[in-house]
Amino acid sequence: MTKAKSDDTDLGLYFQAAQHQPPIANEALLALVLADALAAQAAHCFPAPRAQPAVPLWRQLLAALGGWQGVGGMATAGLVGVWLGFSPPAGLDALALLAPADGLDLGQFAPAYGLDLVALEEG
């Protein structure tokens, strides 16, 4: 047997010994790896729900007022009020002249309850 062949045979025996005695994965390592696997699997298959983005304040107000329709109605009513204030119709002045100079009394608008009101005031 030549020296090279002898060396190869020697090494072959070393390799054979190593093949028959692999490092053994202990239970603790296998448990760690399996735990990682199941966690990764859960993350892939059942991703955590994304957090709902916060609703801005203006959208919350809009919803409380009945949406765009509600806000549109309010804006229209407001504009009409302003317009009436700056440019009242002619008939409105005549109506104002009918009112007494010292103001209006509640009884004038509800004569049927006039006595009751007096009675309440006098005890």
């Binding site: 020697d10 090494l11 070393y14 093949q19 005695q21 390592l29 296998l30 990682d36």
Partner: protein
């Protein structure tokens, strides 16, 4: 669909990985048992340190779990891919070691050997592991993959990211170096007896 564990062990690596990606816990267990020992064995033989090897094996397996949903069946072998990850993680650790102490060679490994191995076999394996740690990283990886793990040269070329000829050169140089390192231990390890019996 959950399958009995026994039937999972018969499945190919690709099929198991696909099942894993679909949420099959049995596939997770089967893959763990199939690949963790291989990752650990290679890491321990290359690093010579059981604790570090366990870290590497766990990290390599974690990368396998992460890549599973995007794994394209048939494009690469799972085992080759995993060996490559382990090889790279080992190389990184060996580089870091060199930056700490260029002459540091770990104590001979304490592989958890099977109880039925003969004392002489254990001594030969331990002597080989000790000698392997004196080889340069690439030679060591090539020798371990070729002569202990039993992979082909093209597989090793893929794992190490080199050509087949480079693998042949690495293993040849590695074996020559091992021969020199182990020369003085032939009688101690009973090799003179083995040769005389042939």
């Amino acid at each position: 669909m959950q399958m009995p564990f026994d039937s999972l062990t018969e499945l190919s690596d690709d099929a198991l990985l696909a099942l894993f990606a679909n949420g099959d816990a049995g596939a997770a267990r089967a893959l763990t048992l199939r690949f963790t020992p291989r990752a650990l064995a290679h890491a321990q033989r290359v690093l010579g340190d059981a604790a570090e090897a366990e870290d590497v094996a766990q990290e390599a397996m974690m990368r396998l779990w992460r890549v599973a949903p995007e794994w394209r069946s048939g494009e690469a072998q799972v085992s080759t891919w995993l060996y490559r990850v382990v090889a790279n993680l080992c190389t990184d650790r060996l580089r870091k070691r060199r930056t700490v102490d260029i002459d540091s060679v770990p104590e001979p490994v304490d592989p958890r050997l099977s109880a039925d191995a003969s004392l002489q076999q254990q001594e030969r394996a331990a002597a080989l592991h000790e000698a392997l740690l004196h080889l340069p990283d690439r030679q060591r990886q090539a020798v371990v993959l070729r002569h202990i793990e039993g992979l082909t040269n093209p597989q090793i070329a893929t794992i190490l990211g080199v050509g087949v000829e480079a693998v042949e050169s690495l293993t040849a140089r590695g074996k020559r170096a091992l021969g020199r390192l182990l020369l003085g231990r032939r009688a101690e390890l009973g090799l003179d007896d083995d040769q005389s019996e042939k």
